[in-house]
Amino acid sequence: MNVHRFEAMGCEIAVAGADPAAVAAVFEEWEETFSLFRPDSELSRVNRSEALVVAVSPLFARALAVALDVAAETDGLVDPTLSGRWRDVRIAGRVLSRPPAIALDLNGVVKSLAVDTAAELIEGEGFVSAGGDIAVRGPVDVALPHGGAIRVVEGGLATSGTASRGPHLIDPRTGEPSKSPWEQVTASGASCLAADVAAKTAFLLGSDGPAWLDEHGIPGRLVTSDSAIVESSLWRGALACT
């Protein structure tokens, strides 16, 4: 499998089975729209705006609608407002309304949505990975944190945690960086978005993470800061298959 690698969205992008230039264009469009570090990005402009109602681009509207669905599905654990006020944000078509002083941060879904979007460009078999969040078409073997590997047959795989950037995941229940016992949580989802949301949710739920994964039928692997590995029952079951 011929793998092309380049930098985008502040991480390494790896592509196989798709035109790297077309994939790079997808990531550039998403970064141009959602980067919090670019003052001229659409998200930065929306967050600066004092208007209660603003018109947004179709891409912005779509991503925000997904982010609000994710917040509802995770009971606000993955929250685009990072402050528990996601219910106050409304998107109707391309019209966004929110109370004053609510800033949006779509980092919880943007990277994995961009990966899923770029994966649509794969012809035949291949994968797209952004900083280790992966969507596959056809089976792809993936190396795991702290050793080992897994074959992703369908959907996506994502890892969330504090290993590379420290405690950057905010727990919306406290407004503080999460004190999760996990260092890294890897989850397998029907898409890269599903995997990413599951990994983040299981991480933020702390000791309840494995039970949440089992309850939702999601294979997951959780690693503590002292490298102890806990596998959800579906992960164990998948590895037991030969």
């Binding site: 089976p139 792809v140 190396a143 047959v153 890892t159 890294q184 599951a198 294979p219």
Partner: protein, 87 residues
């Protein structure tokens, strides 16, 4: 002479009654038409069963299922070309 005056006054009153009746009928007709039109077309007066303005339920179900649905994994069979990690 006096009878002639009475007759003219009576005729004038009769015309006035006719005009009032015509104006009342016209007003009722215009009000009725406006009422029916408003009931049929104004946003606050739906004609049939209310429908949700959001995405179809099937789409919402698909999104929710996708968000909370696990992928398919197996034991590895080859050296991995890519790794998953936090970024």
């Amino acid at each position: 002479m006096e009878m002639g005056n009475d007759s003219r006054i009576e005729r004038a009153r009769s015309r006035a009654r006719g005009a009032k009746a015509a104006i009342a009928a016209g007003t009722l007709l215009v009000f009725g038409a406006a009422f029916v039109g408003a009931k049929g077309h104004a946003p606050g007066h739906h004609k049939g069963k209310a429908k949700a303005l959001g995405a179809p339920k099937s789409f919402e179900r698909a999104v929710k299922r996708s968000i909370a649905e696990g992928g398919v994994i197996q034991p590895p069979v080859a050296p991995p070309p890519v790794a998953t990690s936090t970024s």
